[in-house]
């Protein structure tokens, strides 16, 4: 067993149910799931979220392009979700899958610790780079959205990108 590539933690003043829905419900996800690349639209996660089912990370625009896909490994709402993670072309080849675990721990009635663990990325340098800037931004946006009811305005995301380029 190799060690995780990344472990991300955020504390959010909300309930476990709302965090779960923010991950699996496209109507919520499209409001905050922006990656570091401002040219790419928000993404949603589409699946019936049953173990063994396919899930797709789709662009939330008319193209519905699938950028990441995989299999639901474990689904225990609203506590724990485990999915495999691959480029659409590699979905048939499980040796090229990495694995993402969402652990949603209710610390109290109104405080949740969300831990995202990404394992098995070592052999994929390009994915590793995208992931390492992507998750912190997504989780920070998720926290802002759930605590304030608003997502990060798109213009702020673009400004951040301009500044980074």
């Amino acid at each position: 067993m190799t060690k995780p590539s990344y472990v991300y933690v955020t504390y959010i003043q909300t309930t476990a149910e709302r965090v779960w829905r923010a991950i699996v419900d496209p109507d919520v996800t499209r409001t905050y799931w922006m990656g570091p690349n401002a040219n790419v639209p928000a993404h949603v996660n589409v699946s019936d979220w049953k173990p063994g089912s396919r899930w797709e990370h789709q662009r939330a625009d008319d193209t519905r392009a699938v950028d990441i896909a995989g299999t639901v490994v474990e689904s225990t709402p609203p506590r724990r979700l485990v999915i495999s993670w691959a480029r659409p072309a590699d979905v048939a080849d499980t040796s090229k899958h990495s694995r993402v675990t969402f652990d949603i721990d209710a610390i109290s009635d109104a405080l949740v610790r969300l831990t995202v663990t990404h394992e098995g990325l070592e052999q994929d340098e390009k994915m590793l780079q995208g992931i390492s800037s992507g998750w912190p931004m997504v989780l920070s946006n998720l926290k802002t959205m759930l605590e304030t009811g608003r997502a990060l305005p798109r213009v702020a995301v673009e400004a951040a990108e301009t500044a980074k380029a």
Partner: protein, 111 residues
């Protein structure tokens, strides 16, 4: 229990703790022993600095078997960015930073 941004700023205010974060940026998921190898101080002192970083949620700890692994958790840094940087004139800041780099040379912090 809930880390706040005060704790993040305090944790970042110390050069030793910033060095520990740099170590984890170079190689994520290190044990205390591995981190100590790079630090010129006692194990106890490193442990105390790590605890402050964990309390600030800048480091996440994962147990793997009997090994306690430390991971850089940059999520609070993005929260600072949202709260303190994005609301200012981001593009002007970028222009200033580029000018500074051009004048001083870009010998560190290549991103």
């Amino acid at each position: 229990m809930k880390p706040d941004l005060d704790g993040v700023f305090k944790a970042l205010a110390d050069p030793t703790r910033r060095r520990l974060l740099d170590q984890l940026h170079r190689e994520n998921g290190q044990t205390l022993t591995a981190l100590c190898a790079h630090m010129d101080m006692t194990r106890q002192a490193v442990t105390q600095h790590l605890q402050i970083l964990v309390d600030a949620n800048l480091i996440a700890v994962v147990w793997q078997g009997r090994e306690k692994l430390h991971y850089l958790n940059p999520v609070p840094l993005y929260e600072i960015q949202d709260r303190w940087i994005n609301k200012f004139e981001r593009s002007r800041l970028a222009a200033l930073r580029d000018l500074k780099r051009k004048l001083e040379g870009d010998d560190h912090d290549k991103t």
